[in-house]
């Protein structure tokens, strides 16, 4: 009896593996408009990313580029990620992606470059000035200055350490700095500052990952 039950369990598991695929959620591909496109997805019962791979076709003016990559788990839970290196991006070009598990096609989707620009994560620096203000500068991590970097914006967000309420300000990347006025802050208080970048190319609808936090402390 128990061996029959065990056999039924094995059969059910095998059948389910073949037919009962967990739906792939949030499959998306973003590009940094420099050299990298990153695709990722999640799944409710994703234990690991093995077996998942992707084929990408990029139709250029006179040729077709083909890429493939194998998904790996990211540091986030239950998310699989895959990166391809691209030789420069053009706004209107389309990447046709096919997500596979083994040889089984799970989904196919097109991504137009301009709609999926996700800028690189900025790196922040803050320096206290003589008059008690805080001079914030950043690096956008792009190798060259060009039309694209001229159309980036940085959103700076700061809050008192341990508190939830935040203050934000958006600055054009070309400005290069932002001064936080010390007299408008609480004295002898530690603040945490973070930032995200967005691009005018797609109406700033996609933000970069959040930068590493920098801390600064106000005076008397």
């Amino acid at each position: 009896m128990s061996s029959s039950l065990f056999l039924y369990q094995i059969i059910l598991t095998l059948v389910c593996q073949a037919l009962c695929d967990d739906p792939i959620k949030d499959f998306n591909c973003f590009n940094d408009y420099e050299a990298e496109m990153t695709c990722s997805f999640s799944s409710e019962s994703l234990r690991n990313c093995s077996g998942y791979n992707m084929n990408v076709t990029q139709k250029l003016a006179y040729e077709i580029n083909r890429y493939s990559c194998v998904f790996e788990g990211s540091h986030h839970n239950a998310i699989c990620e895959c990166k391809i290196e691209v030789e420069g991006f053009i706004t209107e070009e389309i990447f046709s992606t096919t997500l596979l598990k083994g040889t089984k096609v799970l989904l196919q989707r097109d991504f137009k470059t301009i709609d999926y620009i996700k800028p690189k994560t900025p790196v922040l620096f803050v320096k206290k000035t003589e008059n008690g203000n805080f001079h914030v500068t950043w690096v956008d991590s792009y190798e060259q200055r060009n039309v694209f970097t001229d159309n980036l914006f940085i959103t700076l967000t700061y809050r008192i350490k341990g508190e939830i309420e935040t203050n934000s300000t958006k600055v054009a990347n070309t400005v290069g700095f932002c001064d936080i006025v010390g007299s408008l802050l609480q004295p002898k208080t530690e603040y945490i500052l973070t930032a995200k970048m967005s691009s005018n190319y797609n109406g700033q609808k996609i933000y970069s990952d959040q930068s590493a936090a920098v801390h600064f402390t106000t005076g008397l």
Binding site: L60, A61, I90
Partner: protein
């Protein structure tokens, strides 16, 4: 009657947004073309291995001068693909068909579902075409790109 007016107003409103978005995309491509052309003109390739100048058809001499219309850009793309893109040497890398300059030029020529083939064919029968150096050709192209880009910019109030 009211429903018709509302529908009409909505259509005009939406189409206004669409045109604005399309114009923005055109400007982005044009601005990137300016960047790439200026980069190449800073250090233009002047010679092939055989120490010969590179000559392309003077597209500005056709008809009545440099008109910077769609057919000009199509012919410019065709000339560059035919005479420069395939030249060997690192200095000609920016002109390869998989590099941003040519890809952007192609994108510009095919925006709004435009097609180049018909326009190029209409000039195929031209004979005794004058030729100019690659450097001058690129400067003409840059002039036209800037010209079109300034036409698409919003007028100052």
């Amino acid at each position: 009657m009211m429903k018709t007016l509302l529908l009409l107003a909505c259509t005009v409103f939406v189409s206004g947004f669409t045109l604005k978005g399309t114009d923005a995309m055109h400007k982005t491509v044009l601005k990137e073309l300016v960047t790439e052309l200026e980069a190449v003109l800073v250090n233009p390739p002047k010679e092939t291995k055989a120490k010969e100048e590179i000559f392309l058809v003077d597209l500005g001499k056709k008809g009545s001068g440099l008109k910077c219309e769609h057919d000009y850009f199509c012919q410019a793309e065709e000339e560059m693909v035919k005479k420069v893109s395939g030249l060997s040497g690192v200095k000609f890398d920016p002109f390869r068909t998989d590099k941003k300059l040519m890809r952007n030029l192609n994108t510009y020529n095919h925006q709004d579902e435009k097609n180049c083939k018909k326009e190029i064919r209409s000039h195929a029968a031209d004979e005794d075409l004058e030729e100019i150096t690659l450097d001058v050709f690129l400067k003409d192209l840059l002039k036209c790109v800037k010209n079109i880009n300034s036409q698409k910019s919003p007028r100052p109030s």
